[in-house]
Symmetry: C2
Subunit: 292 residues, 2 copies
């Protein structure tokens, strides 16, 4: 007896070969279909799923790439222990609108003898760029490579990595990459912790304390609304983080586009925070309401 | 009375806007036409024309870009005096098969606040890369930007800038840029001088002496065929150049792909030469026959 497989159309096709991926996306676009792209490093969580769902509502086809990019990790960072879980990842986006899962091998992205990298200055200079030398060059290089393999209409990034979204947008504009960049809201755990693949490293006390990042952002927003000066707000954030046992890398209020100190009101600002709990490093941010 | 304009179809369309260029090329390819691309810095000479003609024989449409790229000139180099002659350039390729002349303004290629550059290591390291810091990064960046504006099937480069062709091919491979690279033979004046826009700087004695570059390559080839050791051949080249008043930057026999010292026979080698006559800097090269 034949079984009706209503879910068949929801099974994403897994593609490893960049040329095949390129052909499939161009063929879909040639048939008039709008294609969305969600680049990820796998270990998919509700934040990634929200990007896939948003892409699926706006596009006819959605490609989700899964590639743990070695060049955006510094020496001593967590490249080797970064969570890898292709099966769970496929399950996470099946039925959410993913048409393809693009899971290339490392040497299809970085061919032997690879000697090319993309360097972005400007928005990449401070914060993560300062603390993780080479990180944004690795991000820009792999994102450009992925955009060329997956020539989509629009690519979706989470606002959780706010500085990364600025770096990607700048590269896309500077090189004239023919893709639109959509930045989507951060998805949080019920207690406010921003979804991140690195949250899997947290346990016990560290997981409890990790809410301090979001708390410091909420405190910042409240103080910002009350008109407190930027330096006082940054001080409040740092104090709160330290009181919860977070080793602060930075806690800053800056212009949300330039990442320089915010201009005089009305300012479009963002509060950025980064800190460490044991060996786990977390970042978060909050766009602040315009104040006049 | 109507005049038959048999040449109308030969008049290239001049396009300044990268988005317009992109649309036109994609539209042509969508109609099944093969598109060739010849990127230039203008001041077109017979070498460029040969690239356009080769493109026209292999493709249905040909785009010729004319853009004097500021980022590939170092401080103190000849960016400001580099010859600019759009009208003469249009005339040079009219009737040779150019469909479009893409002549963008600088801020369409490098938008204000531009912060992105492409860095190539490997084949870009030695020779021109050593003597002109940042030069190949400027080349790679503008070529990538141009390839994204002009999404052609195939792009044509002259072998005269041999190291440049290696850098471009490496970048294309590493980033997965969807374009084929065709390297075409160097075109020479009757006395052997390689065609170059910079030859316009030469006058009188310097123009006469400039043949020393090609002569040194011919000497190198003869010695190579005779089985002389590499260091002896390089010495012969340097001596000949110096005897003709050329200030030698380098004269080298290297592997034609890696630009490292040639492997044991059979070696696919190239002789590279660069030198200065007054304030004019010239380069040339010759692929050497495989010797076993």
């Amino acid at each position: 007896m034949a079984r009706v497989r209503a879910d068949t159309a929801d099974e994403p096709t897994i593609v490893a070969d960049p040329d095949r991926m390129h052909r499939d996306v161009l063929a879909a676009r040639g048939r008039g279909r709008r294609v969305g792209f969600v680049p990820t490093m796998g270990a998919l969580h509700a934040g990634h799923v929200s990007l896939v769902e948003r892409a699926a509502t706006e596009c006819d086809d959605v490609a989700v790439s899964i590639f743990v990019n070695p060049t955006q990790f510094g020496p001593g960072e967590d490249f080797t222990r970064y969570p890898r879980s292709l099966e769970a990842d496929v399950a996470a986006v099946a039925g959410r609108g993913a048409t393809w899962i693009f899971a290339p091998h490392a040497d299809a992205i970085y061919p032997p003898g690879c000697a090319t990298r993309i360097v972005v200055d400007g928005p990449a200079r401070r914060f993560e760029g300062e603390l993780r030398p080479g990180h944004f060059s690795g991000v820009a290089t792999v994102v450009c490579r992925l955009f060329l393999a997956v020539p989509a209409d629009v690519a979706y990034f989470g606002a959780k990595d706010w500085q990364q979204t600025l770096v990607v947008k700048r590269m896309v504009r500077d090189l004239g990459l023919p893709v639109e960049i959509a930045v989507c809201p951060t998805i949080r755990e019920p207690d406010g912790l921003a979804m991140s693949s690195r949250n899997a490293y947290l346990s016990g006390d560290d997981r409890t304390r990790a809410t301090a990042l979001h708390e410091s952002l909420v405190l910042a927003e409240r103080a910002w609304r009350a008109g407190e000066p930027v330096t006082a707000i940054e001080q409040t954030m740092r104090k709160h983080l330290a009181s919860r046992g977070v080793a602060v890398d930075y806690a800053a209020i800056v212009d949300r586009e330039s990442l320089e100190p915010p201009s005089k009101p009305p300012a479009d600002a963002v509060a950025l925070v980064a800190g460490r709990l044991g060996s786990t490093r977390l970042i978060d941010n909050l766009l602040l309401p315009r104040r006049g």
